[in-house]
Amino acid sequence: MPPTETVFLPTTVSIKKHMLKSFRTFDIWDLPGQINFTSSGYDTEGIFGPAGAIVWVLDAQDNYVESCARLFETVMSLQQTRPNIKFAVFIHKTDSISDDYREDTVRDIQQRITDDLDDAGLTNPPITFHSTSVYDISISEALSKVLQLLIPQLPTFEALINNIAVNCCFHKLYLIDTLTKLFIASDTSPGDTASYSLLCDWFDTLMDLADLYSTEGQSNESHAISERNNGDTSNDRNAVNGSALVKPGATMSTLAPPYITENDAHSFVKGSRGIDLYLREITVQLVLVGWSKQSGFAERKPLIDYNVSLFSKAIKDCLQVIAPDPPETEEAQSSDNS
């Protein structure tokens, strides 16, 4: 849905549950903003019991004091029963605030909430803050960070991506979900919105082009990741160690063909300003995208492909381990428009 059409959305009156199907399933519950669910009379345990994270949406355009107070109440009441729930506060509609004023607003809200919780004895609250807007990539970036809170294997993914990034001279690398373009992991160098925005735009370009020419519609195939009920996470370590990356100095002859399987879609852009883009499909749900400004990056592409194949295999191994989602991680999204 284009952002301009959100004006026509009706107000939510009952809990709406959405399923986000990626390499694993996330449930998103959209809660009506007009009801206070922590007050007695609601099944608090039923609503928040299975939640892994709560997204609290603050309208930065509006008077947010009341909403902050309600957030405070909710955090305090849930801290007693379910201390593991993580909160992400989206300071939303920041597009409508002028540039200079925006930072002040964000800082003010952040200060207000942490101070209140601090006074109440909660010194290290599980809260993160994000300034968001539906008119740019910031909302996807913030939601990505929330998803990452719920992925226990995140450190493994990040270690693998860092490994690739360093060895292949990527400046930024993301593992993104093909359906939503949210990134479930990235290398741990300081994130920047510009990179993410460019790579998402590029991914859109690729999808549009594929739409014109792939008559078979390869991206819409059904794609169940093999279900192997194995809760053992120690394999994750092996996956990292198992990827014996080839250093860029290696000669071509050491690489045994074929290092790209026919089915892994991949794409490459050699930019005119020394910026090269790289994309490789890992699974139907996940692609690795990144960019580099290293000179000679394009010439080294065969080596990068080889390394990424190993990376791809490692990620697939990880996914097989986590494929069954038994203790279902769910996410409740509470919107508040006060």
């Binding site: 020419y213 879609a265 005119s272």
Partner: protein
């Protein structure tokens, strides 16, 4: 070789009708196939004389379209444009040897009045193309048509052979379901008012918010390109060599499609609007790249772009200094390698396209300037085939070949 089909644009106009000057030229018999020499001369004459008038009511969106197509504005930027005063003249280089002499005429009544009286000869002399823009939102349809008739009368007087294109613009303001009906109705009215141009006048529905803009402008600009059959020969040769299902040549800065070849290898049911969709998609991507690199979006943003998917391969590659070529061909990694080598070779042949004809060389590639150390490919003729094993070995060579051998003609 497999037989090939080409879909010609429905409304291409031959060189001779566009430019009265070339009819009176030495080209005695239009039936015989022009030699390249003649084509080139024709191009030269056109360069000197071609004038494109952009007219229509004030606020109808003339300058908006011009800036999006030729100055790389994004659609939401055009709100900042002020009304055009008098005439804004710009020379747009297209494909190296074609210069579009664009006259964006301010549409306010006072200016229009001048064009129809004191500046009449100055404005309407030597017009190759008139593009007249109707604002679908306008409430005074009748008055708009009366102005149009007056303009048409002046054109008849000074440039009777000019081509007339009418754009029914801002179609985004009409509900999707009724767009076609509204357009057909308006088209009928415009045709009635077109006098002696009625049969030749071509009209398009447009909006700056989707690819319809590229469809209209792509076809307009295409009607002006002189040596289309030479271009077609080159592209067909390339398409054969890489067994492509489609080869499309785009102008580099506007991303308007110049020519496309579809071979029998395609699946017979391509999207009919894919050319303008491609223009739209690629231009959007170019803007993203420009934003990221903080550079002007009118400059080149990428040299090569390829996608290898399970069902197809697609390569977009800089071709001449003013064009890039898009090729779609069957999947496979060795196919990509092979295609890139052949595109490189074809680029060498084609780049003389911007040059005087006398220095043009078709294959064999006698004059190729390849960097040393790649002599392996020097004598290769199209098509270059690889086995899949060989392709892996040669990737590096191919890569380094691209840069130094890219000609910057013009």
């Amino acid at each position: 070789m497999t037989t090939m089909t080409t879909e010609a644009y429905s409304n291409r106009i031959s060189v001779d009708t566009v430019n009265p000057a070339s009819t009176s030229n030495a080209n005695a018999s239009p039936k015989t196939k022009h030699t390249s020499e003649d084509e080139y001369t024709a191009g030269k004459v056109k360069e000197a004389k071609q004038k494109i008038l952009l007219m229509g009511k004030s606020g109808s969106g003339k300058s908006s379209m011009r800036n999006i197509i030729f100055s790389n504005f994004v659609a939401k930027d055009v709100r900042r444009l002020g009304a055009t005063i008098d005439v804004e003249r710009s020379k747009v280089k297209f494909l190296g040897n074609l210069v579009l002499n664009l006259w964006d005429c301010g549409g306010q009544d006072a200016f229009t009045e001048n064009f129809l009286t004191s500046q009449k000869k100055f404005v309407f002399d030597h017009v190759g193309v008139l593009i007249y823009v109707f604002d679908i939102e306008s409430r005074e349809t009748e008055r708009d048509l009366l102005t149009y008739i007056q303009i048409i009368k002046c054109l008849e007087q000074y440039s009777p052979h000019a081509c007339v294109f009418c754009l029914v613009h801002k179609m985004d303001l009409v509900q999707v379901e009724s767009r076609d009906a509204v357009f057909q109705e308006r088209r009928a009215l415009i045709t009635q008012s077109s006098r002696s141009y009625a049969k030749r006048m071509v009209s398009y529905p447009t909006t700056i918010w989707d690819q319809s803009l590229y469809r209209a402008w792509g076809n307009i600009v295409n009607s002006l390109i002189p040596n289309m059959n030479v271009i077609e020969d080159y592209l067909r040769h390339l398409a054969e060599s890489i067994e492509a299902q489609e080869v499309i040549l785009f102008e580099q800065s506007t991303f308007l499609a110049v020519k496309h070849i579809r071979t029998a290898r395609g699946d017979g049911s391509p999207y009919p609007d894919r050319l303008e969709r491609l223009s739209h998609i690629l231009k959007t991507f170019k803007h993203s790249m420009a934003t990221f690199t903080e550079s002007s979006s009118s400059s080149h943003q990428f040299e090569e772009f390829y996608i290898s998917a399970p069902t197809f391969n697609l390569v977009i590659s800089n071709f001449t200094s003013n064009t890039c070529v898009l090729c779609v061909f069957p999947p496979g990694d060795s196919e990509i390698t092979c295609a890139r080598i052949n595109i490189g070779t074809a680029r060498q042949e084609f780049f003389d396209f911007d040059m005087p004809v006398s220095s043009r060389q078709r294959s064999p590639l006698a004059e190729r300037r390849s960097p040393e150390g790649h002599s392996r490919y020097n004598n290769s003729t199209l098509p270059y085939k690889t086995t899949s094993h060989e392709s892996q070995q040669s990737i590096e060579t191919v890569m380094s070949m691209d840069e130094p051998s890219t000609p910057r003609g013009g």
